[in-house]
Symmetry: D2
Subunit: 298 residues, 4 copies
Amino acid sequence: MARLFTNIALTGNWRDPKAGESIATLSAHLLERGCSVNVGGAYRGPELPGTVRRADDDTLMDGAELMIAVGGDGTMLYAARFAVDATVPLLGINRGRLGFLADVSPAEMLAAVDQVLAGDCEREQRRLLHAEVESESGNASGTALNDVVVKRLDSGRMFEFQTLVNDVYVNTHGGDGFIVATPTGSTAYALSCGGPILTPQLDALVLAPICPHTLSDRPIVIPGNSRAEIRLRERDEDAAAVCCDGDVIGHIGAGDRLLVTASDARLELIHPPGYDFYEILRGKLHWGRSNRQSQRPG
Amino acid sequence: MARLFTNIALTGNWRDPKAGESIATLSAHLLERGCSVNVGGAYRGPELPGTVRRADDDTLMDGAELMIAVGGDGTMLYAARFAVDATVPLLGINRGRLGFLADVSPAEMLAAVDQVLAGDCEREQRRLLHAEVESESGNASGTALNDVVVKRLDSGRMFEFQTLVNDVYVNTHGGDGFIVATPTGSTAYALSCGGPILTPQLDALVLAPICPHTLSDRPIVIPGNSRAEIRLRERDEDAAAVCCDGDVIGHIGAGDRLLVTASDARLELIHPPGYDFYEILRGKLHWGRSNRQSQRPG
Amino acid sequence: MARLFTNIALTGNWRDPKAGESIATLSAHLLERGCSVNVGGAYRGPELPGTVRRADDDTLMDGAELMIAVGGDGTMLYAARFAVDATVPLLGINRGRLGFLADVSPAEMLAAVDQVLAGDCEREQRRLLHAEVESESGNASGTALNDVVVKRLDSGRMFEFQTLVNDVYVNTHGGDGFIVATPTGSTAYALSCGGPILTPQLDALVLAPICPHTLSDRPIVIPGNSRAEIRLRERDEDAAAVCCDGDVIGHIGAGDRLLVTASDARLELIHPPGYDFYEILRGKLHWGRSNRQSQRPG
Amino acid sequence: MARLFTNIALTGNWRDPKAGESIATLSAHLLERGCSVNVGGAYRGPELPGTVRRADDDTLMDGAELMIAVGGDGTMLYAARFAVDATVPLLGINRGRLGFLADVSPAEMLAAVDQVLAGDCEREQRRLLHAEVESESGNASGTALNDVVVKRLDSGRMFEFQTLVNDVYVNTHGGDGFIVATPTGSTAYALSCGGPILTPQLDALVLAPICPHTLSDRPIVIPGNSRAEIRLRERDEDAAAVCCDGDVIGHIGAGDRLLVTASDARLELIHPPGYDFYEILRGKLHWGRSNRQSQRPG
């Protein structure tokens, strides 16, 4: 059998014993299929076949042509960094409930992997964001698959900041913070802040204020090649943390600014055939099951 | 055995064959327990025991001490009118999925009925609304368990109206309409319009604009003994329908007004022991099952 | 002076005396600049110069190279139909408060018109929607600048329908109806239904449920070249009106469907130099003026 | 002239020079009316009359029968603590824009004060909250006029917690945190989190999740005498800060809990005659000024 991928890197949510079991099963299966397998060094689980190569973060992607991650969407975010850096596609096996990114269930795992190895799969590019913090206390940068978030973390009070798009002033916001999200991230934090769902193919970004002081301060969707800027005022005593996919990458204070643009890098997601974004939405959002009391007869 | 209730009126969602089956089972069970049973004349289902009294709308509640309705929340709204008029408590058996009002499942139906007959149950008063339409084209009035709604039905355009509470001017609204809801109705239409959930015990009303033109036009919760008024302007070409629990009771046009107050009447709901409002909320609202993509490890 | 446009069609909100006055002033000014002027036949206002040509709907656009509308955004929607049919650009003069589409104030009207005539202006293409009703009771079609809306108009009860995008099933919705909006329409009805703001340049559509039964039934943004479909179920007793920019164009019932795609036609909007979409947003949405009680010292 | 109040304590937003000017004007005016005046020690502004008593935090309320605060709602929250402890009513003079709590404008300040001294005023009781943190790392407690908030401050990730009302389990939430608000606080932070507006007279509390993971996790309004509890799970690595009116009073970690109940203490607010809560709402929320693009003719 011709294989689309021969060298596979495996990672997972090491704190979940079930993920470990799946990794062990996957490793054996992939070896049987003639693949070579790298597994992350923090692996905890059943003993792995001797020919599996145990790797640390620096060597995990050595020679890898495909990455498979076992866990939830949080694990996928972690794995995506390796996959993007190595320009290798990523396949996600979920443990427990279905994920937006980890969309293969454990039950169909081995069959799905065989399909993917045989090239019978769908490949999809997901845009990433590049964040640049320009701060008096030092610059920082980061990459995000979901979102770049500015948020006051040191106090319960709201803070104020300005936003610009392509150097044009948009608004002065008061509230808990601000989100710049990709279509991928539109179903993550931004969704909880009143943002819309963007289909993965849409070349656009969501700008969403977090708990805004002004009730008409609503999410804005802008073209994907835009540059978003968040600026703290000169005289302000406010300070805020900047997070990429939930991880703090730096801080901004008075007069500092954060720039967010589309990254040149993309994540390639692999899905088994028949991938259906709307089916995942229906499952995750419990669509079709009414929440409210009916006034219809019946 | 002492029975709390002897004469029982039964009604149901006659279009649902399963409801008919439940009514037949219930009838036989109640007769066995020594009760007398009235069943609504529109009943469709298995043949009923000969001692069951078939009644029309005018005689259904004759002598009844308890009403049992089999169906969804829409059926409960229908049954509530009979129960309130006859000042008789109401017990709801749901068919299919759990309801806010019909909270006994078919599986536990007979056991629950025995508990209720034995007096082992919880009794709860629910407030109703009284709606008074004062229109040039004639007055009308109605009663609602969930909500009184003003809504433009004849066109796709928004309309404008004023609201007052206890004769004090509140706001001029533009949009699709306006809802005055009881705590019971807070989980019905008002919930879809951004209204809060009110616990059944709270003596309060929700005022909720429907798709308001002004984004800060948010739901207001007022004391339960307030009088809400909706007024169309003198010069206005707008017209709107007034609905009680989804049924049109009249129309208002230029200069007309609608008054909504708490009704003197209350609905008594009967629940089997262990009734838990929050458990019903969790079930109906799919609480505890996250909708969004997680950024947590896992 | 070279003129970019010589033959001008004028229309306005004839019910507003101020609009009539502006039309009269504009007519005299345009004649002075050597233009020829058509004015709609329903014009009411001060007497117009004799050389102004009074036209009816069929002749209003005869020879016209530019249309100017005086009124609010509703007037602009009306004028847009003529401008699109005649493939002529449209300039909007607002009366009263600033509009999203009518963005020239009366005070700057004459100076702005001179700039536009001299070619010192910004020209912007706005996408339109094409709606196709396929109903057992007959087909219908329409064009919309803002939105195509399906809505139950004959009753206070919610109805149920299915949505598809590019023939892929999206969701089954219960609620008041559904909106397909352009970026232009994202600040109209869809905004009141929880939809996001789309910048005019974004090639995308908003799908927004109206008062949905399911709280996680959130707006979706899809690529602008998508085909959206709304379908009523075969067995359903539901019926709904289909509106283009607020006007009813047809009805759908059981088994019928509505198809919405981008229209080939576009509206060309003319703005005086310095047009800034975000400035209009800030004005219309009262941004920068906090709505809530502050907990900050001060 | 009989005076309802003779000994007055004055405080203000000392960082705002305008507030200092108002305090100086007020002091002179009150002395003229025969009142004695205490002014907070941090006062910065024009020189005060010699008979004004300069006081520190411990002596500010000595003998005071009325407190007047000059500033915004944040200053009112600060002043409320002194007023509540000394069981003295509080009158608020706003600087700049109208406040929910500081509802007397500088222009009408002296006339309003004269009315209040003469007893021509409205007195209103506002409920306060009592927060009790039961943590392994030590207990803490606090009082709040607006709200008690639990919030993860140390990271960009969401956290999970359980809520109970009167010892009955309500829900397990994931998100940024949780708010328990009074009617007074319903127009503060809770409003930005999708909470409803509660009229000041309503004896109720709002429970509002902050950016909840589950889209149907909506605000709940419960009776004012309820006890709300927020509990972190035993095994959780989550930790969160507890804030009263925006000030951190303590932290909770795994297995810890926060209890919130109505405080026995109340704040008495003084308003000049004609106080109208809805008028303040209309002003603060820019009601009556439509935000969205109109489709109506005009």
